[in-house]
Amino acid sequence: MLNMQAFHQWLSSTAKAQNDYQRRLRQLTRASRIQIVNAQGDLTWAIWSTS
């Protein structure tokens, strides 16, 4: 598993050998905050708080 810095270098790599997994994760860098928040919205059951 890559650490953060190595992951960033891998994600930013423009070498032709990039794979499908990398391409898809890179497309996430163009997602909007709202898209991410909406996707996370189904996780209300995961909240730790007791309030």
Binding site: L2, L25, R30, Q35, W45, T50, S51
Partner: protein, 316 residues
């Protein structure tokens, strides 16, 4: 009677609890909201072929530990919503001790054979010790990736590992299988923590993590990784209570790859959990499969939202 009502009944029967009104009210108030995590022992019990009723003492125990951990966590984080604000810190600390002990008592009252009881109590106690250690490290604010994951593996995942292990033990499975479920629970707990960090980081207005200078996973990534917008991000962190600064900082989190990194970490743990599930050879694996499906669902939903089919894992 559902599992939460059974847990309330069992809890009220614990000696000491039956004479302590504040404990009774707090447990009933939280149980009535049916916290999802309390049901994890039931999933574990069912997956090894047991019944939900066998898991009730574990549900009480995990409910007690959940309340106890939050009572302390709220004080450590100075959370304005914490119970300590209402009853005072000394009383909240005392209640936390009482809930921890009541959790152990619930397991003792389960009636399982002594050898299994010993393992279940040890699991619960170690979970509590690890969580307290993780809390202690967390208040010092980790500044690098190694420290971050060390805290996740102490503060967050032991609760979930113990929930599945103890639920399975009370359902009558072997010590070995219960140990495999503990590993699955640990992975699940790490995934929950990544989700929590991502949600907190993208919340508006700024979550206390931003305001207190803490570093949940996406913020840590943007702070430590050498990306083109790092200097600007660090500047924005100093003025994050400003709405425009928060929005710009959150946009940088997406562009710099911090969100992609969180998704990568979730996908890798999901794959590891699927492999562990295969190896565990459970009687009814669908109980745990659905648990994993629920925790990865937001990742699939995000890829769907950006009109990209979800990736299979590839080794970079």
């Amino acid at each position: 009677m559902d599992i939460y009502e059974q847990a309330i009944n069992g809890f009220l029967g614990i000696s000491g609890v039956n004479a302590w009104e504040e404990m009774q009210i707090l447990f009933q108030r939280i149980a009535s909201a049916k916290p999802y995590h309390w049901s994890l022992p039931v999933r574990a019990c069912e997956t090894i072929g047991g019944t939900p009723e066998q898991a009730v003492p574990a549900v009480i125990a995990m409910g007690c530990s959940h309340i106890s951990i939050i009572l302390v966590d709220d004080m450590l984080d100075a959370d304005p919503r914490g119970e300590y604000q209402r009853i005072g810190a000394p009383a909240a600390a005392n209640l936390a001790c009482a809930f921890q002990a009541a959790g152990l008592e619930a397991i003792v009252r389960s009636g399982v054979e002594p050898a299994i009881l010993s393992i279940a109590l040890t699991s619960f106690n170690r979970m509590y010790l690890m969580t307290a250690l993780g809390q202690s490290w967390d208040v010092k604010c980790p500044i690098d990736e190694t420290a971050y994951w060390r805290i996740v593996q102490t503060k967050s995942s032991p609760f979930f590992g113990a929930a599945l292990q103890i639920g399975a033990l009370l359902g009558g499975t072997s010590i070995e299988t219960a140990g495999k479920l503990k590993e699955l629970g640990n992975l699940y707990g790490e995934m929950i923590q990544i989700h929590d960090d991502l949600s907190d980081t993208l919340a508006v207005p700024a979550n206390p993590d931003w305001l207190q200078g803490r570093s949940p996973l996406p913020i840590l990534f943007a702070k430590v990784v050498d990306h083109p917008e790092r200097s600007r991000f660090l500047e924005l962190c100093g003025e994050i209570s400003d709405e425009n600064a928060l929005q710009e900082a959150q946009d940088i989190l997406v562009r710099c790859g911090a969100v992609s990194y969180c998704m990568d970490q979730l996908l890798r743990r999901y794959q590891s959990a699927q492999e562990a599930l295969q190896r565990a050879e459970l009687a009814r694996p669908e109980s745990i499969e659905s648990l994993l499906d629920e925790v990865i669902a937001p990742v699939w939903k995000l890829f769907d939202a950006i009109e990209v089919s979800p990736p299979g894992i590839a080794t970079p």
